[in-house]
Amino acid sequence: MTRVLVPAGALGLGYDRAALERGVANQPDIIAIDGGSTDSGPSYLGRGVSKYSRASTKVEWRELMQARAKAGVPLVIGTAGTCGADAAVDWLLDITREIALEEGMKVKVATLKSGQPKERVKAALGGGRLHALPAAPDLCEAIIDACTNIVALAGVEQVAAALGTGADIVIAGRTTDTAIIAALPVVRGDNAGAAWHGAKVGECGALATTQPNSGVIQIDFDASGFTIEPMAAEASATPYTVSAHMLYENSDPFILHEPGGHLDVTRSEYEALDSRRVRVKGSKWVPGRYTVKLEGARVVGYQTVGLAVIRERRYVSHVREWAADVEAKVRDKIVARMGLASDAFSVEIRLIGMDATLGALENRREVPVEVGILGILTCPTAEQAAEAGKILNPYLLHHPLTEDEPMPTFAFPFSPAEMQRGALYEFCLNHVMELDDPLAAFVLETHEVGHA
């Protein structure tokens, strides 16, 4: 039997302190928490930085380090610093060192880095060992070369190797969401289907319970299944909340692909042990070829955005033609004055209040009170994007609907009304890479931090 304590769906999201204490008192074998995902977009991976504030991360990580010391078991985090790039692992290691010194702790930390050298990925592409997943973008060597970060998603083998160093704390770069939870049960010989399924249910913390914000859950894995119990007193896991969790962020609610195989929950059975705990059996692990999924991000331009608000009724009711005219005039002026080729940059105006969320898919047509004008300029360099923003600015302030009318003035919320967004990143990999040795593509190191 292996007992895994999951404090929250992600470090930085917060959790119920009393529930964490209860979980620690239950003597878990390991404390495991996720540190990120791709969900916030490609910029974090592209830059190798965390989405959450350093201050929030440090507060919560300190509490988890204290909980770990009290429980006397390993603490593992996967996808450290939102994206799991090597720089994000170093960032969390740095925070860990600070806390250890401040708390007078002496801890052994294992770092598992997932960053992939471009040469390795290009060799895999050339050698036919890189395989596109459904809806993958086209890939070539030039795109791999353009990536600022490429990471591979580690599975249980790599996390288990990190735990095998005897580390008190494992800071892992990109892992699958489930691997940090499934690793110890798999290593200890608990049912593999249960290990992966329980890990999937648990990776979002208490999201699979009636009180998602309470965060803390405990999962017991054994030879035939797993049992999930929320640690917040008022939270319950029910067969419905647990089975419905396979829907979440999964394109297929029954199959989950992982390094070295897939989980099949088609025949899983969910039983309420009481009003708060659910027992799950019948989940199946199907071994397959050993592959790891890759994620990569590259810079595709630099952006300036401008924001204005149109309130005047006549302009609001003609805002589409107005916006199309501004787009065309700004485009012409960027070509004429900055000398950019017309296909080297883009000018887009999104109408907030009309269809900014859905674009062409929007099917409601109502005239709003006011419309936010979001001008988005994308250019090859940051300097060009800044210049283009200054060309856009006067149009957002004063552009008339027709030539023969008094000059209008729209609401600018800021001075200046345009803002430099920096680099625009794109995800450019949705591929798996074959590995003969699961550990070959990852870097495992140990560090003694703090002082006795």
């Binding site: 791709t38 969900d39 916030s40 977009g41 490609p42 910029s43 997943l133 459904p134 809806a135 993958a136 973008p137 419905y240 089975s243 419905a244 829907l247 979440y248 962020e249 999964n250 394109s251 297929d252 609610p253 029954f254 595709v300 331009g301 883009s346 887009e348 999104r350 900014a356 969320t357 859905l358 674009g359 062409a360 898919l361 099917n363 409601r364 988005i376 994308t378 625009l424 990143y425 794109e426 995800f427 949705n430």
Partner: protein, 100 residues
């Protein structure tokens, strides 16, 4: 005809990784589930989301009273033309769909 959102307890859309979008329609009871399952055609959903029908994956899950659709994201998450980083807005298209 009522809007689908007025019949069900929740419609949720979310990224399933950067390249896929998944939408879950949570019905409260088997009767509503059957109504949604029978009243919502694949072609309707493909048209609402602007994707080819053959690319649509559909799961009717009676044990949860859930109808689920997954589609390749019309625009990959975070690309210049993406308008909704987490994909939450697509749910509105189904909520407002008029169903028999």
């Amino acid at each position: 005809m009522p809007e689908l959102g007025s019949l069900v307890s929740k419609v949720r859309s979310k990224n399933a990784g950067p390249f896929w979008l998944t939408v879950d329609i949570f019905c409260d009871d088997p009767a509503t589930f059957a109504r949604v399952r029978d009243g919502l055609q694949d072609a309707d959903v493909a048209r609402l989301f602007g994707v080819e029908r053959q690319l649509l994956k559909r799961f009717d899950i009676p044990s949860l009273n859930v109808v689920k659709f997954s589609v390749p994201r019309p625009v990959v998450q975070g690309m210049r033309a993406d308008r909704d980083m987490h994909g939450a807005g697509w749910a509105c298209l189904l909520e407002e769909f008029q169903i028999e």
